[in-house]
């Protein structure tokens, strides 16, 4: 037998013994293998179980208690929230904030990704690095910079507007401008994430498809509609849904810039929950507010998962 001409033990001393006791050893290895695997997963499962799943269930429990956390009130916190005008305003503002911001992030990301992709290959890295800066600065810190640009007296943005002949804008004093300002900050921070995702997806579109489209006489716009978009459809869907979750749950911008004001009109679920739960000390009510994010996030998560599986099959 050719296998015996060079026995493994000649090359690798110590293997021979294992090879001779092959049958029982394989069974033992198989047994051991799954045990080892479970042990290797154990720290991860502990963290997820103890610090994600347990708190999530605990939040549901907390939401059914009264303010002093001494009495079970059932759905009392929820029915109380439903009667509050502020709560509905927060829900509306969270939706406006997330949808508008994600739309513009995706749009700017798509445009800038195409622009960068148009450049000669050796310049792309530099531009990508430059455009990615907002996304690397911790959000709470860059929001301080925006806050300072929106300062009522010394606003550097108003200085530019005045120079261009426009009148000053009450960025954070007027509730509607304040809503615009928090969205602007979020678009600024999040668009680079879309840029890198779309740029990576653009690079994965095979060049032959564009060549074939050129031969068929397609112009740039037709190539975009009929080649680029279909090829990027699932990655666009994944990125948008993912960003929808993150934006919907955003806390940093509103908390640093407006703390929910003026007149609670910039509050989103996260900041409103923080205000009620931590600042006012009504833990059950805060937990109830943050639980409202759950169904919306769960729906988005299901669609993301489907998109990821589809994308994995396409690749």
């Amino acid at each position: 037998m050719p296998d015996d001409t060079i026995h493994p033990s000649l090359v690798y001393p110590g293997v021979g013994a294992a090879a001779r006791r092959r049958r029982p050893l394989i069974r033992r290895v198989l047994q051991r293998r799954s045990t080892i695997a479970v042990f290797m997963c154990l720290p991860l499962l502990t963290i997820i179980g103890g610090l994600v799943i347990y708190p999530a269930l605990y939040a549901i429990h907390l939401a059914t208690l009264n303010k002093g956390m001494t009495k079970f009130v059932g759905l009392g916190n929820f029915t109380f929230l439903f009667t509050r005008e502020t709560f509905w305003m927060v829900a509306r503002q969270s939706a406006i904030f997330a949808i508008t911001a994600v739309f513009f992030k995706a749009l700017i990301g798509l445009i800038t990704a195409h622009l960068v992709n148009n450049l000669p290959a050796k310049g792309q890295r530099k531009w990508r690095g430059m455009l990615l800066v907002p996304w690397v600065i911790p959000l709470s810190l860059s929001t301080l910079g925006w806050w300072w640009m929106f300062d009522p007296t010394y606003s550097a943005l108003n200085w530019v507007l005045n120079g261009l002949g426009f009148s000053s804008v009450p960025w954070l004093a007027d509730p509607y401008w304040a809503r615009f300002s928090v969205i602007l900050d979020n678009v600024w921070y999040g668009a680079p994430f879309f840029l890198i995702m779309y740029l990576a997806a653009l690079k994965s579109v095979p060049e032959q498809l564009y060549e074939a489209a050129s031969i068929d006489g397609a112009n740039a716009w037709q190539k975009f509609i009929h080649v680029t978009l279909p090829m990027m459809r699932s990655i666009i869907a994944i990125t948008v849904l993912f960003s929808l979750i993150v934006t919907f749950a955003n806390f940093d911008i509103v908390w640093v810039m407006t703390q929910g004001g003026p007149r609670d009109m910039t509050h989103v679920f996260a900041t409103y929950a923080f205000k009620l739960g931590i600042q006012s000390g009504d833990i059950p009510l805060g937990a109830s507010v943050s639980l409202f994010m759950f169904p919306i996030l769960a729906v988005a998560a299901v669609f993301i998962l489907r998109g990821v599986h589809k994308r994995a099959k396409e690749m």
Partner: protein
Amino acid sequence: MATAELVAGHARRRALAGSLQRNRRWALILSYVFLILFAIFFLAPPYYMLVTSFKTNREMVDIATNPWIITRDITFDHYKVLLHETDFLIFFKNTIIVTVCVVAITMVVSTLAAFSLARMKFWGSVGIATGIFLTYLVPDTLLFIPLFQIVKGLGLLNSYWGMVLVYPTLTVPFCTWIMIGYFASIPKELDEAALIDGAGYMQMLLRIFIPVALPGIIAAMIFAFTVSWAAFVYPMAFLYRSDQLVLTVGTVTSLVRADVFQWGSLMAGALLAAAPPLIIYAFLMDYYIAGLTSGATKG
């Protein structure tokens, strides 16, 4: 006749190629113009923070001057105030301790888990992998109130060790997820060879998987670093004594006073606090982006 046609065709083709080239040049010029506009939008806030941090208070409150440039003296006073008269260095030290611990915990936990999930298929391993991805989608703002109660119950409220406990929930799922992808792409022949050589699973992980998947491990480390450096909700909720604060919360809460003259130090603090992620990213951007985009595109 035939040659004349050939020449004419040649000229036509050259004209067409010329117009294509001209189109392409225009497209390039337009791309640069718009990219410059976007770059101004993206870089204006950090640039303005930098300018503010070196500007004298007198110039800052002078409304007549251009706020975007420094026309008079450059001053380092804001940085001196920040480093000598505030707790900024304590925040920095706390953040480094928390981040180093969180990155270490994350890497150990997620490397082990990713290895076992990518290579040692066992009952429920596919379900766990999906579950990890779903966990990554659970935002911190959904969990901070129950975690507040849990951290309080453990006596870790107002201690940065509480952050070491809760930050891994932000880092571990995604790091495990991208490392599963990297480990799964390593050819099976390599581990078969290792098994034949009599290597155990730990040896296999340490000698083969970690070195081969090093780019993925670096990407995961940068992610864990960035996330724990920038975390805001948890420290905002769980920390309030200034000797325990981390940089993000410390800069935002304790350096903000109702006094307009604090702006310089505030911007200096924000920039210094943002410097470590910026520096790391400047050197390791390619690893980071490769890790992020592969995590999202390959699954």
